[in-house]
Each structure stands twice: as C-alpha cells, then as structure tokens.
Amino acid sequence: MTAKLEWLDDPTVFRVGKLPAHSDHTVYRSAAEITQGESSLISSLDGTWRFHFAKTPAERLLNFEDVNFNTENFDDIQVPGHIELQNFGQIQYINTLYPWEGKIYRRPPYALGPDKTYPGIFSEASDNTVGQYVKTFTLPENFSGHDVHIQFDGVEEAMYIWLNGQFIGYSEDSFSRAEFDLTPYLVAGENKLAVEVFKYSTAAFIEDQDMFRFSGIFRSVNLIAIPQVNVVDVHLKPVVAADLHSGDLSIGLTLAGDLTDTTAQITVNNPRGETVLDRTVTAEQHIQLSEAFDDVALWSHRQPDLYELMITIFDSDKQIVAVVPYNFGFRRLVKDDDNRVTINGVLLHLNGVNRHEWSPVGGRNVTLDEMETDIEIFKENNINAVRTSHYPNQIPWYGMCDEAGIYMMAETNLESHGSWQKMGAVEPSYNIPGSIPEWLDVVLDRAKSNFEQFKNHPSILFWSLGNESYTGDNTVAMDQYFKSVDDSRLTHYEGIFQNRVDEDRMSDVESRMYASPADIKDYLSNNPKKPYLNCEYMHSMGNSVGGFDEYVQLYDEFDTYLGGFIWDYIDQALYVTDEVTGKQVLRYGGDFDERHSDYEFSGDGIVFANRQPKPAIQEVSYYYGRYDN
C-alpha cells in the first residue's frame, strides 16, 4: 500500500495498518524481569531523532523515507517532545475556537452536506506544519527470531510511518497508543524508521480541546518483541455480589502465535499476598475462565486493595515464553432506581479535579515524577477523583490511580467545541460529529481505543464520551458502544445538557459544567431523571474558588448529588527565559505572539503550572476532607 496525502482531508480515514487496540498490559520474558521492573521485550526509541520541519505540506521533503535519502542536513529533535517546544513551530494557546480562527476559512468535510468534502483542506493548507522524523535503529540481539511491533504512545495529530522505505501505516487520535507490525520490512543491521507528522488533519476538528496546540511525537516510542506465544489482550471482569462479600472473577485472554502444546498458568494473589487462584489451561486463541470467591477484598478510595493476576505462558518444553502481571480490584458500582450511585454500598462522592496532562517544561509530555507529585497532591488534599480532561492520559497514570484509590472518569479524545459554540453561544450549524455518517467511525474508534486500553482499571468508574462536542447520533453510538462492552461502569456526557434531544439516549448521569448551586438544587428537587454531577465546576482561574460550601452542602441535601470535578488541577503555563531579565518566568496564552489566543484562560488550576499549590487548595482540602465518603 502507498500512503495518500488526501487521508488528511478525509474523516473516514484515521487508521491504516494500525493494529487493534488492546489492554495496556506489559509482557515480560520472566518473573525476574517483573521484579527488576524492566521487560527485555521492550526497546525504547526515545532520545535524539533526526528531524526536518516544513511549514506546509507542499514544502516537505519528498521521499525522505527512502533508505538512501540523505538526512545530513536534518536537525536533531528530542523524542518524546512537542515540535513547538523545541522552537520549530510557533506555540499557540486557544480555547474553543479552531486554531486557524480568522486566518483560514474551513468547515468540516460533510458537515454542510454529503458533497461538501473540501479536497486539500489540510493536505494543501498553508498552516499545516509537517515534522519529518528519522530514526535509525538496530534491533537488540534478544529481539532476533521475534516479530517486532512499534508502539507510539502519543503523536499529534496525524502520522504516516515507513520502515526502510516501505509504508507501514497511518494513524490519527493523538492520545491513544498506535501500534504497528514492523516485521515484514525489518532488516538485519540498521533499520530506518521515518515518521511524518502533520499538525492538522480532519482530526483537528475533533481535537479542539482547551489547551496549547502542539504537534509531534510527544509520548514515548517503543519497539516490542513479540514472544512466540503472545498475550495480546487481557480482559478482566471482577464482579462483587450485592452482599459486598462474595465475588466472581472472569478472565478473558487473547493469545497469538504457535499455540501447539502450549499452556497458560493463571494465578491470582489477594491483597494479603495469598494465592487464591492457580489454574493451568491449554492455550487457545481465546481463553475464558471464571472463579467465584467467598470473601473478596474491596477496592475503594479509602482502601485501594488490589489483587495481582499473573499469566505465565509455557511452551511445549515447559519453558516460560511470556509472563504478564496485572493488578486489578473488586468494587461494586451501582446506580439504583432512585438515582443514587454507590460504590461498595457507600454513596459516591466525587471530590474531584479535571486534569490536563501538563508540565511547565515539557507541555503535555509529563514525566513520571510529575505524575507522582500529582498523586501526592491529590492525597494530601483529599482529592479522590480525576477526570482525564479531555483525552486518554499516559498509560502509567491509570495504574497510579488504581494504587492510590483515585476514582476516574476516563475521557475519550473528542472535542469539537469550535463547531457548535461560538463566543459562548450555542450555534451548531456545522457541528461534528453530530449525526453525520462520515464522522461516526472515527469517534467510535476513539471510544474503542479508550475502552480496550484501559478496561481493566478499577479506578475507572465512568467512560466519558468526550468533552463539549454537542449531540447527535454519533455520540449516542459511542454511549451504546460503551454500554455494549461494559456493564460495570457508567457513561458520561455533558452534551445532553446543551440540547435535550438525545438526553434519554446517552449518559447515565446528568452532567453540567459551571452550574450554580441554585441551578443544581433546582434540578435535583424536581424529579430528576438521573443522578447529577459537575463534570466541571468551581472555575479556579487566578484568585478564585470562593463559595465552595454551597456546592458541598448539596451532598447533605441530595443522595443523588455526586459532586464533581473542579476546573482544573493545573495551570497551563510554560517556563520561558525572560527576554529582559534572563530569568525563568512562566508564560501563558498569547505570550508567543500567537493570535488568536485566549490568553490567561490557560491558567485555571488549583496548583500553579510548576505544581506549587495555589492558596485556594486549603479550601478544597478542607471541604473535600469533610465530605470524604
């Protein structure tokens, strides 16, 4: 297959050659590797890559992917990292309007009619910067004899990849892992990987989140050696009975490779380290087991007890070929007929924050240290819930939330804000995804990526369809998808409030943003259809967070009030060397000469961009502590 540039213009093309999304487990060669914390089946490609920046698709270098193409004149770039933060492209912050506001007239293909396709809308655009990346690598010795995949954990917004001049695939969805099979084109010795990243594609219409607009390979890239028998997917369904005592665990495994005379040993240790399940089964492509337990330890915010699953694959010589550990938890999330939501029988209080992934140095390329600091700040301040606003986060974050007992609303990478709301007013004349057939598959794919990757995390209580994308059959289809694959969690979407037409077709909760306490009270006092939560509230811009008491008091008054997520956790601002004093200072939207911008609207955190808590956090800590459930 050859790569086609016009895929950038076509919302129906968003994955070419990309492997199906699967659970986020890590495969090791041995139990010893797990103890060491490093799998020899993974080889990182992070580091310095060669790079050519083109201001437009027309100016990009043709055939740069060819093995013989001379990259001597290329620059260096750090991967992972945003292109703009390495000063190739201009930094821009903008909230709801599309980043090309006032510069280029665009409408989403198909939004105004089936014939409105706008060929060249991005592929021939004057604002679509291109990053051409080259990385040469030699496979580690212990990769020999293995199939090799490549995993991109985050690339914004559209990428084409080639190996040794051969086209491998195309991917959109900046925030979900993209995996490709490199095996057919690998050579002995040096291999040339070429990745072409476009700042815009039709994905730009549905990645209009309130954030700095970056492009590039901003999360890690890894080569994966596939064991001769691979654990492709793990699907755990821990179910707690109504007695909150007994439970069932269903384990679904998808294996691939030569399964002849292969066995899989599956063990489960409870939180006390006692083995409560140890079963060996003949390996098949799909393994389905279940086990009943009399007395399960429950996972909750207060006591996030985790069980340890271990899958060990033995070949015909009883040699271990793959080991997969996975921590999971039992908890019972119930929405009852009275619209009360309980976790393990206790009313759910979401004392939460919205969290953009943010570093004042790396932008959305946050480090593990920064994530750990966030968890510490959560724990210190009685924050028990997080919404991954507004996209899937780095994979380690989910495990951290499992361990720390943080309730999560896992949001899908979807926001089409500029297509339906302009200057604060609802104006959905060219809204996407809406009910437009050409925009269905792409949003379903995003939902599926979100679910498949993170389905085993006990921290996730809600699947969120996305943020501020209005309403229509396509978001309804996303909700139905989540419902069809998962009956252990609730769905969330705030678009039902913007237009009530689809209210009964999606979202298990009434979700609003920035509703006043009086409006919430009004909703909950008048035969509410659903439990209520604030997907965003208490706008912590600058010196704010006054009047918190009026929100938390709703817990006292209504069993159907679930609390919500403060907007937001961390200011988006960047360290810059002050052009006058030479000192490091924090800069925000508009500080890079970029126009249009939404300026200081980027700073709404309860911590500053450098994670120093804002004074208001003591109020958050107090009330969230008082209403901890």
């Binding site: 706008h539 600058g542 006054g546 009047g547 004093t581 924090l586 500080d591 004074p615």
Partner: protein, 321 residues
C-alpha cells in the same frame, strides 16, 4: 520635656502639623497631606506617605469575567485621587478646630494631654461623592487607634474593597500574624486554620496575571518587622517592629510590596517593578472572590460590599518597645 510626666503625651502644636510624642514614639499628623505623616517608633520611620483610603483591588479573573471592575471602575479613580477636605483636632475632649497660628500662639513647648484625636474628612473622587472620615486617636503610651467611617450613598457602584493602606519606606523582612492560615477571602476561609503564622518577606501569590492577592481574614494581630530604613544617618540594623491589633472586630490585611493599582496593570509578575516598599493595608470590608465561573457569574450575594450603606471599622497600632 518634663521628665515627671512620662505617661502623658507631649503635644507639639505646629503650623502645618500636630506632633504627638512619648518616650519611644513620635507621630506627626499633617494638616496638608491628609493624615498621619510620620509614625516614628524607637527612632524608625514607618511611613513613606500618609495612609490612604483603599477602595480598589487589583482585578481578579473572576472580576474581569463578571465585568465587576467595569461596573465599579469609579472606585479605581477614588483609590488614586480621593483627598482630605478638612481636619479637626480634639485634645482631651476639647474641640480645637485647626490650631495653627495665630491660634496656637497660646501654647508652649511643654504641652501635654491624655488623649489626642484628629478627624480627617475625605470626599471620594466619585460621582456622586460621599464622605469618609478617618479618625486617629492617640492615648497613653502612644497607642494609636484608627477608625474609618464610610458613609453610604445611593447611586454608587459596589465597593471592590474598603481599607486603609500604610506604605512603609522600605521592604519589610517579614511579618507575623494571628489569624487564619493561608490566603483567605470571606467566601474562601473555612479551610483556614486559626493560629499564629510567620511569613518571610512580602511574598506575592504567583497568579499568572497579577491580581488581588495575599488577603488574610479574621486577624487579631499583625506585626511587621523591618530592619532597613531610608535614614542616611541610621546605620542600625536592629529589627524594628510595628504591631497592628484588633480593637472591636478582627480585621483583614494584606502585606505586599505593591499597591493594587501597581498590580492592576501588570500582565505578568515580571512586569512589576523591583520591590522597594511595604504596603500594609488594613481592611474593614473584603469582597469575595467567587468561583462559579470566570465569565459572568458574580460573587455570591453575601460577599458583595454595598457602597450605598455605611461601613465602619477600627484597629490600633502599638509602639512596642
């Protein structure tokens, strides 16, 4: 000075000011500048200019979003340009009007009193204008009580704040206070813990856009420590202390190196000038910060400050030895 009358205040009936002195303090009330011109304690000067009525707070993001600052912009001008229109002097309960020459020719170099009170009347630079009185009363041992009386006036927009600010000649080493932990506002102070807190320097809260900051509600006592001065002959590095104390009700305060109007125009912290002064403002009324959103919703009703009703507050300054 007559050494036998140590408890009484020594009064100097000047022609442009009234001096009030004691063992370790010397106050100078200006008849021209609209207030206390000198607050000298243990030889250290604590005032750079006379205390000013404070009506403005640097616009918060929520104030901007709700157009509060636009609606109350009159108070920005009033904060800058309100002047005293009259001053009267009362000594030991006797009204003396303005005792300048020739009226004061009857006094000597050895005048004493138990209490001295000066009332400064201000007309706000607003339309309509209203009256604010600042009453300074000095009693035995130099205790300086200050009362601010604001007269409500129909038609005036809501007040951003109401306070009296003291600009000190140099940057303080720090301050300690008895009150609530952290930065608090009337609608954001439940989480504050009562205690005594030491603050080093005059820290700014690094909001990305500088704005109203550093408020401490429900304070019973504030002591500012300062070891520098502008006095060229003063080589002492001894730390001077000045204590503000609650009289009737607890007060709110902020201690920053800038006035609200200096902060107002900065879009980044680094645009603010090098710190040179200490700005201590004692507030009688503080507006809430709000939080429901930053694009229109006002602060909840209990946390507004009406300009149409009267407000009064008081506190005292003690010249600790």
């Amino acid at each position: 000075m007559d050494a036998t009358i140590t408890n009484q205040l020594q009064i100097v009936y000047g022609d442009g000011s009234l001096g009030v002195q004691g063992e370790n303090f010397h106050y100078l009330f200006s008849y021209e500048k609209g207030g206390l011109e000198s607050l000298n304690v243990n030889g250290k000067e604590w005032l750079y200019r006379v205390p000013k009525l404070t009506f403005w707070r640097a616009t918060t993001d929520n104030d901007r979003g709700s157009h509060f600052s636009t609606k109350s912009a009159a108070w920005f001008g009033a904060d800058m340009f309100t002047e005293a229109t009259s001053v009267t002097v009362n000594v030991d309960g006797k009204e003396l009007g303005l005792p300048i020459a020739p009226e004061n020719n009857r006094f000597s170099a050895n005048e004493h009193a138990d209490s001295v009170s000066l009332t400064y009347t201000f007309l706000t630079a607003t339309t309509p204008e209203t009256t604010v009185k600042v009453i300074y009363t000095v009693v035995a041992n130099g205790q300086l009580n200050i009362q601010v009386d604001y007269t409500g006036k129909a038609g005036l927009p809501e007040l951003p704040t109401l306070g009296l600010r003291f600009v000190m000649p140099t940057v303080a080493d720090g301050y300690s206070y008895a009150g609530l932990s952290g930065e608090t506002y009337p609608d954001r102070m439940t989480g504050g813990q009562i205690g005594t807190y030491e603050v080093s320097g005059l820290p700014l809260t690094p909001y990305i856009v500088p704005q109203e900051m550093g408020m401490h509600m429900q304070t019973s006592s504030l002591t500012v420590s300062r070891s520098t001065s502008l006095n060229n002959a003063d080589t002492s590095t001894e730390v001077g202390l000045l204590t503000f104390k609650q009289l009737n009700e607890p007060f709110a305060f902020s201690a920053l190196p800038y006035t609200a109007i200096e902060i107002e125009n900065a879009t980044h912290i680094e645009e603010l000038p090098v710190s040179r002064r200490t700005v201590v403002t004692i507030y009688g009324e503080v507006r809430g910060v709000g939080g429901i959103d930053s694009w229109g919703t006002d602060v909840q009703p209990p946390y507004h400050i009406s300009a149409e009703t009267d407000h009064t507050f008081d506190f005292t300054i003690q010249p600790t030895k």
